[in-house]
Symmetry: C2
Subunit: 465 residues, 2 copies
């Protein structure tokens, strides 16, 4: 099966050639942005601009007046054309042996009965020709591994390459999630905005990404499902192989109206979803930022194997916040064993108490080696499953947390070592540096607490499975 699903969607994610239908030199048209997105991402396959009104070239590439002028067997067709032109154009692509398509236009199922019929017709044509369609009513597909940006948004190619994949019903929310992932300084693998889901559903993408060797964690933004059972079946299988994180919205009256006019989804009740998702082993989060933070920890291999946290700091306030968030969710800050407490008492400053949480006052800010000694001792304790060091970064003007040595201590004990590196975005490079050195860092106590809670839930899901 593995190779089957990877093969089925290979032309979509790894096309040898891409045709941009509706490509143009006019920057006020979507077709302009669609073509420049494909050409500016470093994609190395053939690119064919198609426009009936074209001259010799579009954006410097040889132009084609019709799909029938193209070589046979173009892998991926990107449709930057109005809804009414989509059906004949997809029919042509199928006749020319096209394998996959991305359709940006709205005007299908989300607009009511008539649009629904159009979408049915579209699905019939695509299915008959074995063509997989992303959309309609979407922003398309990005695959960093193939340097493919089959959207109309060039900036999507800026996101660094990594192993987090995102499938979103909404292009805008997908973008928001990608933004948060980029802000967490990790990279993406595949991004799919699936919109109206003509003949590619969440179930398909989850099945694909579960097999995809370049995806370590699957992130889904869902407004509504047509075939919940099919999705849950694939999701259950996927979550046994790698973490699947789900963020759902559309549960109120006004948001349902927005969702309906959007991708034609009718939301179920929140509680029905929650229960079913949990049973399928999916981790549920409630914001783009939360999703990005937990995806980062997973992508970096930092999933604690139990609820015990050791936390040390030079500033107690952030620890108060982190403990508040964690303890309520069932995480624990186990007391230190006497011999460990004694060893720690040997080097912490006067007035400091060798306990967990461990507050070493401002001394630890100037002498950061105290963090390393404390973590090395505490991580040896059986009921402690990860270390968290809280450090308020001073940028170039202050001391720097020894992330490399700290990460090394985590590896030595086989337990995650996190840093809550309290940082404004002006100093985000401190986070990036710490992560390049192997430690997983979060910029605020609330993010740090929320990540620990979500990782704890993730362990719970694994234990239940």
């Amino acid at each position: 099966m593995s190779s089957e699903v990877l093969q089925r969607f290979h032309p979509l994610f790894y096309p040898r050639s891409v045709a941009v239908v509706g490509a143009t030199d006019n920057p006020f048209k979507l077709g302009f942005h669609a073509l420049s997105a494909v050409t500016s991402s470093g994609f190395e396959g053939e690119v064919y601009p198609v426009n009936p009104g074209a001259g010799e070239s579009i954006q410097g590439l040889r132009a084609y007046r019709s799909i029938s002028d193209l070589p046979r067997g173009v892998d991926l067709f990107v449709y930057a054309i109005p809804a009414r032109q989509v059906i004949p154009s997809v029919r042509e692509a199928v006749e020319m042996g096209g394998n996959a398509g991305v359709i940006f236009a709205g005007g299908f199922r989300e607009t009511g009965t008539e649009g629904g019929l159009l979408q049915e017709e579209l699905i019939g044509i695509a299915n008959a020709g074995g063509m997989k369609l992303i959309g309609p009513n979407c922003i398309g597909v990005v695959n960093k591994q193939a340097r493919l940006n089959a959207t109309f948004a060039s900036p999507l190619a800026w996101f660094p390459q990594g192993n987090v994949s995102v499938v979103s019903q909404s292009g805008g929310m997908g973008n928001s999630i990608l933004n948060e992932i980029m802000d967490e300084q990790v990279g993406i693998s595949k991004f799919v905005s699936i919109g109206n889901r003509a003949n590619v559903e969440f179930a398909d993408m989850v099945e694909y990404l579960a097999e995809d060797p370049d995806t370590a964690v699957i992130c889904l933004f869902i407004e509504g499902l047509d075939d919940g059972a099919a999705f849950l079946e694939k999701a259950r299988l996927a979550s046994r192989r790698k973490p699947v994180i789900v963020y759902t919205r559309g549960y109120t009256e006004s948001s349902s109206r927005a969702a309906l006019s959007h991708t034609g989804s009718v939301a179920s009740s929140e509680s029905v979803y929650r229960g079913a998702f949990r049973q399928a082993g999916l981790l549920q989060v409630s914001s783009s930022s939360e999703m990005a933070c937990v995806a980062k920890a997973v992508a970096m291999g930092a999933v604690p194997e139990g609820p015990g946290v050791f936390i040390s700091t030079h500033s107690a306030g952030p620890v108060v916040a982190i403990c508040d968030i964690c303890e309520r969710a069932g995480l624990r800050f186990p007391p230190l064993q006497p011999h460990i407490a004694e060893a720690i008492a040997g080097f912490i400053p006067e007035h400091a108490v060798a306990a967990n949480p461990l507050d070493m006052f401002a001394f630890a800010w100037t002498d950061t080696s105290l963090y390393l000694k404390a973590a090395d001792l505490a991580l040896a304790q059986d009921d402690i499953h990860c270390a968290v060091s809280v450090f308020v970064t001073g940028g170039g003007a202050g001391p720097v947390f020894p992330a490399r040595e700290y990460a090394e201590i985590g590896r030595k004990h086989g337990k995650p070592a996190f840093i809550c590196l309290v940082t404004p975005w002006a100093l985000a490079s401190d986070i990036a540096d710490a992560q390049q050195q192997g430690a997983v860092a979060f910029s605020s106590p609330e993010k740090m607490g929320s990540v620990l809670v979500n990782l704890h839930h993730l362990s719970g899901l694994r234990d239940e499975a």
Copy 2:
């Protein structure tokens, strides 16, 4: 009263002269960082480094071997010395006519009975001499209006000047809140880390900031209160003059332990606090980021006068998320009046429905004037109290939201105009640009939704008062 409280704390916030006791040339000591924080912030008053072991100068400034060598009447003493030296040093400062002090050292009330007695002695000396003490066990005071950075953290001077003031029990959490405020691209006025609260309490700072003409909104991080009644009385008076936002932590067993070893606070139960704070008219938030976002809206004068929101977009997903968050908190998305709907129907694209939420599809992304027309029409409707435009920014590579014209429309109708400008931090300058043009922008749908909810709660508090 106004002038009395401003005068009482004038030497603390607007000192003519600052002595840094424990100043040194050794960068591994706090006294090094304390002196360089004062001298690198642009402070224009006299600065006196004091160290018994000093030579002629410290960091290029004339050095003093003892406080008694200083000119009489130095306004502010910054103590970067160990706890055991603090009491004699404060006594000397009082004798030399010192008016205010900042004490970084821990080792007082937070360490137990003995430390508590030390703190009592300290308070006695300061009170007898009329000296106001911030701390002990704190990171100090920043006043952007006076270019004063009386902390040991030079980077705190980087925060831009504005009208948001922050008082935090914890230096680290204070820093986290300042970071989030900076990330929201607004500026601060006063920052006070009050630590153990020797003789300056939250009540004093709230009273001061309520009168301070440079403070538009007061942000408090509280772990515990000694005299709740005194605080609530001052807070009630303050919240009638300007919004007071409170973030509290320390409600669980592990976090209480951390808080106790921290600034010697014993937390009450959460529900007791919540009820009392609400009665006093304080807006309660649950994260640094939430605090910064709502403070920004208030600081920019964007507080809607009712629950009616008009929201328009080119991408429905973020609107689904915003509506979900808002509707649950009692906000409303009123149906458009027929004549307004009709006018909007005249320019929105085929398939779009002239409703609220208003989805104009990708057309509005390329033709951003649709947002302006829609907001201008909708804001004329009585039961609509603010406009929210959702726009996924493409940086330099895509269209730019017309923030100036949009802000102008808001002003014309006397109603706030928000942009949910879905943006990664790499494009944070888009947020800054929009705000310089007068529109209030948030980078994610969750932040946008949360701000609207908090502003709605703020109106509720005002109506109750």
